[in-house]
Symmetry: C2
Subunit: 481 residues, 2 copies
Amino acid sequence: MIQAIERKQIEDVQQDLQSVQALLERQRLVQSLVERQPGPNQSMVETLVHKQHEVELRAKLDSMHSADVAYILEALPLEDRLAVWDLVKAERDGEILLEVSDAVRESLIRDMERTELVAAAETLDADEIADLAPDLPQGVIEDIFRALPVEEREQLRAAMSYPENAVGALMDFDVVSVRADVSLEVATRYLRRFDDLPDHTDQIFVVDRDEKLKGVLPLAKLIVSDLDRDVGDVMVTESITLHADDDADEAVQAFERYDLVSAPVIDQAGRLLGRVTVDAIVDFIRDKSDSDALAQGGLRESEDIFASVWGSIRNRWQWLAVNLVTAFIASRVIGAFEGAISELVALAALMPIVAGIGGNSGNQTITMIVRALALGELSPDLARKLFTKEISVAIINGVIWGGILGVIAWLLYRSVPLGLVMTAAMALNLVLAAVMGVLIPVTMARLGRDPAIGSSVMITAVTDSGGFFIFLGLASIFLLK
Amino acid sequence: MIQAIERKQIEDVQQDLQSVQALLERQRLVQSLVERQPGPNQSMVETLVHKQHEVELRAKLDSMHSADVAYILEALPLEDRLAVWDLVKAERDGEILLEVSDAVRESLIRDMERTELVAAAETLDADEIADLAPDLPQGVIEDIFRALPVEEREQLRAAMSYPENAVGALMDFDVVSVRADVSLEVATRYLRRFDDLPDHTDQIFVVDRDEKLKGVLPLAKLIVSDLDRDVGDVMVTESITLHADDDADEAVQAFERYDLVSAPVIDQAGRLLGRVTVDAIVDFIRDKSDSDALAQGGLRESEDIFASVWGSIRNRWQWLAVNLVTAFIASRVIGAFEGAISELVALAALMPIVAGIGGNSGNQTITMIVRALALGELSPDLARKLFTKEISVAIINGVIWGGILGVIAWLLYRSVPLGLVMTAAMALNLVLAAVMGVLIPVTMARLGRDPAIGSSVMITAVTDSGGFFIFLGLASIFLLK
């Protein structure tokens, strides 16, 4: 009897979400009806209906993948979210906490008892507990340590010791390893003893007596090879290996470039510590591009869309404050030229154009440089060449766009000198933007900071204040007596 | 004899790059020396030295992974890049063209003869040729079609028929499939006939006589199961399947959420067409976040860092032009209030603050909404709630930050009414930013456009012009006679 395959699609989960929402809605409706028409059996009816809905919801949730439950929790407002969270089977809590976003995870953990948290953690692997650790209260972590068997306790200690951006933080301990001097037949028999191999096992690791990595044996190779041969004959000895202390970005580049599914992680002595799998890499890439986008947009961290008004204000105030300071500085630059503006009020109308185009052009340069830096393509020699190129682009753009604006200023205000000042100011501000657009990210990278974060704010600050200063300064010198 | 594993790391490739650069440099040096001191044997010496360097370089390149050669080509200026490209073995051209960035690919293809391009394409699979197709001259594509065997020709036609954002564009045809009614023993024997399974084969597909997908058989399961059992008993029947016409984003979400390595692609009738593998997904995610970052930074497309000055200007002019138009509109808004400014010149200094903070706050709202839209979390019901929330945040922020700035304006210019106008303008512009910050991305999404691209420019345009209008308008009404 062969069944047809059951298709499962992302869209199905959207429907699941809607049915969960409908159930919660119906429950609220019944509750409000009962409250409005109080009768003798009110609490009993309420309890009955409530129970029935609960059973339905629970069945729905039990049939869903943990990642889908996580998705639904993220898409529900706080009250509904916690109602659903209470209905999730306790043994799935750990897995689901791993899947939800940071902001939602915080809201769920706040709702849980200390013992519940410890129980949830115990269902997870050491590397997964380490991922949750930053969000757990200190006392809970101590309880978890105490509850773990010795080996896992050591693994957890190791996993928690790596900084967030190290390969060690992406590593898991689900390695299957064999010796080189056994036959494939023996290796296969050994593998049969597992009920199931760990997820993402595309290769098993070949180690010697001291746990030193000698090679890898891809499963695909194991399957197509003659079982009489030895592991050592069939294994691949040239392979990407990672160090636990390496930068996680290096692992990402290796996975992207060589299309890996898993890679072994070794220590300085060459001993096998664990492995990194492609799902951890995908999550890392997504988190990184998310947090870059958030920082670009001026948010401190990923925001729960159902965060309270105060939560949102707290998440956003830092960037607003930074922006306020830079805007204030720009404003004082203008303030210094109030005499010039009151003499020639056209300056007030034209100055934001000079500043704005400078910011735009500077951001273009920065985007390109940040990208080259991320790919490791920017040698000092190259940086000098780029510098020259960006300045050339700026001068040409300055003459073209500055020229256009100069003509417009001349036509609007019937003043050739004003048009010339406009052109000169545009060209100079674009050159300033090019210089700072190269210098800011390169300097940040040299200082060991991530040039993707904050560069944009800095260049805009420079081109705003600089643009106002250049334009109003030139105007003071050449247009006023 | 067991060898120790040869570690390979991303850093090694950086060293390869340096040694390639050193070789090219030495070659240039010798050439210039010979040119400066012309002698009887000049051309012979030159040729000899040149040959020697060429041999060294060629050996270096042959030993490298195609993706690493691609990396080195990207990091070299045009002249050196083409010199290295000529030394790469012709049969690797296709693979390497697949790996380089779009901008670099264009520069390499421009350097190649028509017959070279056809030969390079013939080394690739149909889905890979389809990936290159947009960059190939029309005539070359026709030649390739003629050169392909019938089956691959059909595959290429199919692969080229999908839009860039469909699952079909991510699909490859490297599927290994078996029937459900054979034993695992027979299936294993069938697999042994392959020299090697296709990359990323973590599961084989189970189909019936009509090629209809019945289930999947994970390799890990094949290895741990009793070989006497039938494929149909062991296979997994509930599995993620994709449709070739589905949106690629759906495939990405499925891979991220369920940590897949590969997934089958079927047609409307349930027949197996091909598969999508995680490396294609990783590349897609990277391309998407790259192009989002580029658009955010105001670049049309990924720019070769060695692009000529004119190439860069061409790549950047569109966004500068858009910015110029929006800046010009803002400037005309100010122009309309020149009377007010000449009466109270402090307005000129304060107005950029109102506009700037509005833009910053609007971008925060947009970033959050774009993210919720991308995750499919934004139901119409939810959008209404968010609307209310964002406006509340804006009002509170407006009162706080507007209050601070009002006090500063009052202290700077000794005018309480000016301080009050400042506060009111800030609050109103933040509310405008919140309203447009929700409306712009939601409307773009409804119109089927990608809200990640262009939203930021639009909100800044609105908050600039709007901020100037609100502030100068309020000032005209309340501060001037």
